[in-house]
């Protein structure tokens, strides 16, 4: 069954379909959350909460307004950012360094590397800094184009085309 059918079933509160979607996206969500909170246990906890929230809010997802993945990643980012703003998190003395996601990828040891991981490592190794920045802001941090253009001091149109080229490279590396 393809993703879109799974999403239709998910909206009908089909647990089997939801489980498939969970398996499809849990690592992705965990990665996005981890990139924000930089703590494995906290990231896991938030990731689970995100899926439970998505299940209960299934009615509010509208297929015409965007991809299920996009909807889910939004929930994940917001939950993670909320966590970093919470008192308990601030008091835990977490050091949120400004490393990009690539630094995290490169820090993983290669023992359990799948083909994907190897491809991504290759990709990020040769990835230009400008690609890293754009992808970090648009996908991991959820910046708008305008915010990204201000952050990177680059015209909005440039963000759009650069992003297109960077994602193209990524697809060549992992798909």
């Amino acid at each position: 069954m393809d993703i879109d059918n799974l999403v239709v079933q998910f909206k009908k509160k089909d647990e089997k379909a939801f489980e498939k979607l969970y398996d499809m996206y849990k690592d992705s969500m965990h990665g996005v959350i981890y990139n924000i909170v930089r703590d494995n246990d906290i990231a896991e906890e938030i990731m689970q909460d995100v899926f439970i929230k998505a299940w209960h809010k299934a009615d509010s997802y509208d297929v015409k307004k965007g991809r299920f993945f996009t909807w889910l990643i939004n929930i994940a980012r917001n939950a993670a950012i909320d966590k970093t703003r919470s008192k308990s998190f601030k008091n835990s003395g977490k050091n949120l360094n400004s490393d990009f996601f690539v630094d995290i990828i490169q820090s993983h040891d290669s023992l359990d590397d799948s083909t994907d991981a190897i491809g991504i490592k290759k990709f990020v190794d040769k990835l230009a800094k400008k690609c890293i920045e754009v992808i970090e802001l648009l996908y991991f941090k959820g910046f708008t184009q305008k915010e990204a253009s201000e952050e990177l001091d680059m015209p909005i149109g440039t963000i759009k085309t650069r992003n297109r080229n960077c994602i193209k490279e990524l697809r060549e590396a992992v798909l």
């Binding site: 939801f18 992705s28 981890y34 689970q48 439970i52 809010k57 965007g66 996009t70 959820g142 798909l175």
Partner: protein, 265 residues
Amino acid sequence: MNINDYINSGILELYVAGQLSEKESSEVYDLMLKHPEVLKEVLEIEAAIVKLTASVSPKKDIAFNTIKGRLNNNTDSKVISLNRPKTQWLNYSGWAAAVVLAGGLIWTINQKSHLENQIQTVNTEKDFLEIQMETSKTDLAETKNLLNIIRDKSIINIPLEGQAAAPGAFANVYWDKKDDTVYLDLQGLPEPPKGKVYQVWSLTLNPLTPTSLGTIDDFIQDDNKIFKLKNANQSQAFGITLEPAGGSLSPTLEQLYTLGALASL
């Protein structure tokens, strides 16, 4: 629209990132349904992003079972969504009740002050009626008293006829010799002009000697025009003159209004 240009513009990458407006997103959605190449492109972009983001995760396999139990757990947000309308309903009805209560209170207060006003009015009317009743009783008693006096056979009635100063005037004197009292019925006298009063005289004849019995100071105010004066004299006649306020020592005969002598004389 050239679909390849559309795909190459980078809009689909932004679509997956969630950066498009609602309108743009629904355009992309429609195009995905119409053009399989657009759908394929979106799926590939999405798959690439999913792999990239997943590669950041330290990849500890967390099975679906760990959250499965919480999906239909009523202590989760589901309960909140059920509770919400209830609390909202409670909220609204609470406010509504408060408004109704406040309205009722204001109405009651208004009603109360209105009723208090009514009571005040009724009380005033009651006081007024009581006074009127008292006055009527007094009047009745006085009238009865007068009637008794007139009927009493020991009382001497002396009619006083109008004189040159006031030919149309007349008066009556009722003399109670036991009490040395005279009652004067002055209904037939005109109102005295301002600054003047009637003065009543007791007269003895041969020689003619007038003795003042007093002045009628409240002629105008008195309703029944009956006046009571002391008279211990051996009167043979009575006269009434108009005198300056305060009365005179001797009668002004030009202003003699009425005069009458005892019948027995």
